[in-house]
């Protein structure tokens, strides 16, 4: 799945953020790491490419914020080059570092980062005790380093945020994690539900059963609200957040990363997608979760919709990543579309072609007002009354929808018939055996074109 196709699954509220993966090494080994196999194999974004991105953003002003991430980004020797360029170029309002926070224990290093231009630090806090946090990172002392890092950050005028990955190991600790963050002046806490990127069968037993994790998470969100910490949740069903539904933010920044990263990105589904008011922003459950714990059909509670449901684009349907040339290229029936080639745009345009068992149906639209008509081709039959007859086909029309000027509709149908007559060289044919060729109804309001 491409990154663009992924957007279809997530809520695009943060697409003014750009994440740049600078490095793919790490000195922690978090049990839930989603790029474990890619670590040391993926390449970071070359500095030259980042320079080009900055240039482009200076022109487009598409992004307000750049987020440097990895791997563990603080291990990258050229990080400061990226940061300084991001800041001095003036291309971004905010420069954020996403880090495990361990190297921030060094006050000089932290000061250097701040001086270079980082104004937002997004650090990982996964346990409420050193024992739990270090067990998750699999690096003794990492909790203490992080805590010293948070203390160092408190001496600078920077925004401090934490990220906690919600998984089975820490699902009883969320309230305690809030207390630690609060004690260190954190202003925003993110809680991201664990999504396996590699261990799709959850052999590590990390996916948190929501029946157990959500009560703890809701209490943590209560506490955040009580102490004035802004909370953000990701990848959990909104209906299980109780009063904290508004914390759900499944958006993703645009991310500069190897494209194959997205191939394994989890897919989501919810049985109640079409029924729930919040299905536009709520992803439901990951397929991996559903396989392991089921659809949670009795636990999830859809809020009745007040608006009509629109299906999400499927990755294969919408192709949100397709290029302009692909978008304009013929779709399903290029040879049939070619029969209409040359239809003047000022007369109307082709919306789609459909082939049924015995007909080719052209949906045409007039240029003004959006009225449409179906021009139907059936196998040539001399005995049928028709709008027009070409070498191979009988033509008639049906399904006139919308309001239109009679003259406009006549002009469109006449032009379409002329184009099809001109292009019908006998190479296309329709099955004459099935179906009844319909005749146009003789309503006074309907244009007569023959």
């Amino acid at each position: 799945m491409s990154q663009s196709a992924l957007r279809d699954q997530v809520h695009p509220t943060r697409f003014r953020d750009l994440a740049v993966t600078v490095d793919f090494h790490c000195h922690s080994a978090c049990t839930f790491c989603i790029v474990q196999e890619g670590m040391n194999n993926y390449r970071g974004v070359p500095f030259e490419r980042f320079v080009a991105i900055v240039e482009e953003n200076l022109r487009s002003r598409k992004y307000d914020r750049v987020v440097f991430t990895g791997g563990e980004v603080t291990l990258e020797k050229s990080l400061l080059d990226f940061v300084v360029h991001a800041r001095t170029s003036g291309a971004f309002r905010h420069v954020r570092l996403q880090t495990n926070g361990r190297k921030l224990a060094d006050p000089d290093f932290t000061r250097t980062l701040v001086d270079a231009g980082i104004d937002e630090f997004f650090v990982s806090l996964h346990g409420d005790t050193a024992a739990l946090h270090d067990a998750i990172t699999q690096r003794p002392g990492s909790f203490d380093e992080l805590i010293r890092g948070l203390a160092n950050l408190a001496t600078h005028p920077v925004r401090r945020m934490t990220n906690t990955v919600v998984h089975r190991t820490n699902m009883a600790a969320f309230e305690g994690i809030v207390e630690i963050a609060h004690a260190h002046g954190v202003s925003e806490m993110d809680f991201w539900n664990y999504l396996p990127m590699e261990d799709h069968n959850d052999e590590l037993n990390l996916i948190a059963p929501l029946g157990e994790a959500m009560p703890s998470l809701r209490r943590a969100l209560d506490r955040c609200a009580a102490v004035g910490i802004r909370a953000v949740t990701k990848y959990v069903p909104r209906c299980l957040l109780g009063a904290h539904g508004a914390t759900l933010d499944n958006s993703q920044p645009d991310t500069i990363i190897v494209e194959t990263f997205w191939n394994e990105f989890p897919r989501f589904a919810c049985l109640y997608e079409s029924l729930c008011e919040h299905s536009d922003e709520c992803l439901g459950l990951s397929h991996d979760y559903v396989r392991k714990f089921g659809w949670e059909e009795d636990r999830l509670v859809p809020e009745p919709r007040t608006r009509p449901w629109q299906p999400r684009l499927r990755s294969v349907d919408g192709r949100p990543d397709e290029t302009a040339s692909e978008r304009d290229a013929p779709r399903g029936y290029p040879a049939w579309e070619a029969l209409l080639a040359g239809l003047p745009a000022e007369v109307g345009h082709l919306v789609r072609v459909q082939l049924t068992r015995n007909q080719a149906r052209y949906t045409l639209a007039v240029p003004q007002g959006g009225a449409t008509v179906e021009l139907v081709l059936a196998a040539r039959d001399e005995s049928a009354r028709v709008l027009a007859r070409t070498a191979s086909f009988n033509l008639f029309y049906t399904q006139v929808n919308g309001s239109y000027e009679r003259a406009d509709m006549e002009r469109l149908l006449r032009a379409a018939c002329e184009r099809i007559t001109a292009h019908d060289d006998g190479s296309l044919s329709l099955d004459s055996r099935k179906g009844l060729v319909q005749l146009p109804r003789q309503g006074k309001e309907r244009p007569a074109v023959v």
Partner: protein, 294 residues
């Protein structure tokens, strides 16, 4: 074409899409192809690959070509059936309005007569909108088809009942209905749970209503004599590949789809899974099928 595709040694040639192709699902309802079909494969390529895989003799190809000539190109739905490592095919013929003598049973029975004999002859006053029969790899070597399935519609509900017709008896076989996977999900869940074969106090619904396939155009819930079944229609080639792997199809079929994925991505596919619960509470997927048109 990928390197593995070039290396595959199939005895039957690939069939390429043409401008004259129409695209139908397994209910013979038209759909718009998902991509420009030029340079890609016709869905019947799946059939020929399965014949290769099953080691079917050329006589079956001849019989199927005769069916295609009689019913019309794209007018025959073929289900490739898989059960315990065995492959066979079910041929379906639709004629909802009883308007086309070419796809009534008598016509098809005559068309295949040089290769095999279809014994039951449905009474044409039976209001069937579709009939089907199975062929095995060896059927076209002078074999017989002893059972014909007749499908009767509901009133204003997309679905039906099927009956097995043989020389000895006519018996009801299954009931099924089609539902929208999103807007009619409560009905789908209800119909699935109404089961004598699966105890849903012991079995997760997700064992039979698969998240990987639910993103489809229609779900069909069927109640059969010895199993329940769920069908997913309108899935894409990626989902088909998942299905074939999940249901343990023979490697040459899985490999064929993977190798030609880029030349099948304009198509939609339909698949079905029969299932029942084992004594230990696990779900046995007893039979499955995927569909194409000929």
């Amino acid at each position: 074409v990928t390197a593995p595709a070039r290396e595959m040694t199939a005895s039957r040639p690939l069939v390429h899409a043409t401008d004259a192709d129409r695209y139908f699902d397994y209910c013979l309802q038209p759909y718009d192809p998902l991509r420009d079909p030029r340079g890609k494969l016709r869905s019947e390529s799946l059939l020929w690959n399965s014949l290769d895989t099953a080691g079917a003799p050329p006589s079956l190809d001849d019989a199927l070509r005769a069916v295609q000539r009689t019913a019309g190109r794209d007018m025959t739905v073929i289900g490739v059936k898989h059960q315990a490592g065995r492959l066979w095919w079910e041929l379906y013929f639709y004629d909802r309005l009883k308007e086309d003598p070419a796809v009534r049973a008598a016509s098809i029975i005559d068309a295949v007569a040089p290769w095999f004999r279809i014994v039951p002859r449905p009474r044409e006053t039976v209001p069937y909108f579709m009939f089907s029969f199975d062929v095995l790899p060896e059927t076209a070597e002078g074999g017989t088809v002893d059972v014909v399935n007749l499908y009767l519609p509901y009133f204003e509900v997309q679905g039906g009942r099927s009956y097995k017709l043989s020389a000895e008896r006519l018996e009801m076989d299954n009931v099924y209905r089609f539902l929208h996977p999103k807007t009619e999900i409560r009905q789908i869940v209800h119909d699935i749970r109404q089961s004598v074969f699966v105890d849903y106090s012991r079995v997760l619904l997700s064992r039979v209503l698969l998240p990987e396939l639910i993103d489809c155009n229609r779900i069909c819930v069927a109640k059969k004599r010895f199993a329940d079944a769920v069908y997913y229609s309108g899935i894409d080639v990626g989902q088909l590949a998942y299905f074939l792997t999940r249901l343990d199809y023979p490697a040459p079929i899985v490999d064929f789809i993977e190798a030609h994925r880029g030349r099948l991505d304009h198509l939609r596919f339909d698949v079905g899974i029969d299932y029942a619960m084992r004594a230990d509470g696990s779900v046995a997927m007893t039979k499955s099928s995927y569909y194409c048109t000929l």
